[in-house]
């Protein structure tokens, strides 16, 4: 039968080890010329809690998106303060790809992101606030509706409110109704806002 069985244990032995796996060597391998080696280093650094700094540094100069994804996964798993702070930093990046990747990674971190969400939503930079609303899109956290309601009640920037109102149409409940009605009066000259608020209200009332 041409179905053949080899013993994976053979390849395990062969794998021991082309490269050193201690924390210092792994940090050095983050800049290895081979992207597979960089991905493996980033993955294995999960057992080196001190590695956050090195990962953050590499992320800033890494141009292979597959390596960036693994670095972000490890940072997300480490989930420590520095990791979260650096993710927040990427929300300010000029690099759109990196910004979006940071948003995706932060969506996976409800418990770590929740305590700083309040602050992100009042950041002076409206682009950061829009990113924060985008994170809420699939952050599984019970406060999501409350945060969004606050945004449409208080945020002075029409684009931030527009992003929030779209999302409220999906996740909102009757408790968001009043804020949605009020929003229309906050931006009377913005037809999109009235349109989106009405749509959200309609969805909420029909569910």
């Amino acid at each position: 039968m041409p179905l053949i069985k080899q013993h994976i244990s053979k390849s395990i032995e062969q794998d021991q080890r082309k490269r050193e796996r201690d924390c210092t060597s792994l940090e050095l391998q983050l800049s290895d010329p081979s992207s597979a080696a960089r991905r493996w280093a980033a993955r294995d650094l999960i057992s080196c809690p001190e590695a956050t700094g090195a990962l953050v540094l590499q992320l800033q100069q890494e141009d292979d998106s597959s390596v960036r994804e693994i670095i972000l996964t490890t940072l997300t798993q480490l989930g420590d303060e520095l990791a979260v702070a650096s993710l927040v930093g990427y929300l300010r990046s000029e690099d759109v790809a990196l910004r979006n990747e940071a948003i995706e990674a932060m969506k996976l971190l409800p418990d770590e992101v929740a305590p700083i969400m309040g602050k992100l939503l009042i950041d002076p930079d409206p682009d950061v606030r829009i990113s924060a609303v985008n994170i809420l899109e699939s952050l599984r956290h019970r406060q999501v509706e409350e945060w969004l309601t606050k945004v449409i009640e208080e945020d002075p920037h029409v684009n931030v409110c527009a992003t929030a109102v779209d999302l409220l149409g999906e996740v909102g409940t009757t408790s968001a109704q009043e804020a949605l009605e009020k929003l229309k009066t906050r931006f009377p000259d913005e037809p999109y806002i009235s349109f989106a608020a009405d749509l959200a209200l309609k969805r909420i009332r029909s569910t």
Binding site: M1, L3, R39, T76, S138
Partner: protein, 280 residues
């Protein structure tokens, strides 16, 4: 008498620990399921309280108790020809595409993880033998892995219940199995065709040797994970696949929100995820 009550705080502590070890996330509705199994192990290890059991679990160096507990906490539900449409896609579309970039004499490699009791891997073997003419020209290696050592022993053993083989056409049952009382024993040829190994997908040192696969089946595992573990698994499979290789998930599972490493390929019989041919 052991004080085997598990408080909410104990539950939360255990849940976090177990999640970090296995990627498996229990939500509050699984409280009863978890408590029952924890108590079983507390009693079996004569640990007296949750506290003393938990200390032992965290600090034991052998990992034996964690394995025993893991074997209890996993859900192993599976059967032959489950989600058969994907095996059709395998023989009709995926393999023909894979061999276009293979050289004569090269090996094709398939990884079925998690294996549970082996039905999926053996179904793949049967499908290849029955429905893929290429099997006459190409050598195929099938490896199948799971975190649960007890269920792996069952897979290697190859004894199946009537329920497990229910979806198999009678003709295959006759051809590939032997009746053993109430059970059906899979043929030695098939047993010879699949290698079963223990792998915890959440452990980088476990998965590192698994490379060079053309097709990976990972079905009905991600449903037990949270998004972060799902993404970790997706990242792992990326390095286990050859460029151009395919990842097949269960019908209720998807990569789209989790990872941007893959290209989505929609075929007539299934949606699968592909590692780009140019990826390194």
């Amino acid at each position: 008498m052991a004080d085997t009550t598990i408080s909410q705080e104990d539950f939360l502590k255990f849940r976090e620990f177990f999640y970090r070890k296995t990627g498996i996330h229990f939500d509050d509705s699984k409280r009863y399921f978890v408590d029952k199994r924890l108590i079983e192990r507390i009693v079996a290890t004569e640990s007296v309280t949750f506290r003393s059991y938990f200390v032992m679990l965290r600090f034991e160096t052998s990992g034996e108790e964690l394995q025993a507990l893991t074997n209890l906490m996993t859900v192993n539900e599976t059967y032959f020809f489950r989600e058969e449409y994907q095996f059709k896609c395998l023989v009709n579309t995926l393999l023909p595409e894979i061999i276009t970039s293979k050289k004569e004499g090269q090996l094709l490699r398939i990884w079925s993880v998690p294996s549970s009791s082996g039905e999926e891997a053996y179904s793949i073997a049967i499908y290849l033998l029955e429905y893929w003419p290429g099997i006459n020209h190409w050598d195929v290696e099938i490896i199948s892995s799971d975190i649960d050592t007890k269920i792996l022993a069952q897979a290697r053993n190859g004894d199946y219940s009537a329920r497990s083989v229910e979806k198999l056409p009678a003709y295959f049952l006759e051809k590939y199995f032997r009746r053993k009382g109430d059970a059906y024993q899979i043929s030695d040829d098939l047993k010879q065709a699949v290698e079963f190994t223990k792998v915890n997908l959440m452990k980088p040192e476990d998965v590192r040797p698994y490379r060079g696969f053309d097709i990976i089946f990972c079905r009905n595992l991600l449903i037990y994970f949270d998004d972060l573990s799902r993404r970790t698994a997706a990242d792992t499979f990326f390095d286990a696949l050859n460029p151009g290789g395919f990842l097949c998930l269960g019908h209720s599972e998807s990569m789209s929100r989790i990872s941007s490493l893959y290209q989505t390929r929609k075929f007539a019989d299934s949606v699968v995820y592909q590692k780009s041919k140019e990826a390194q």
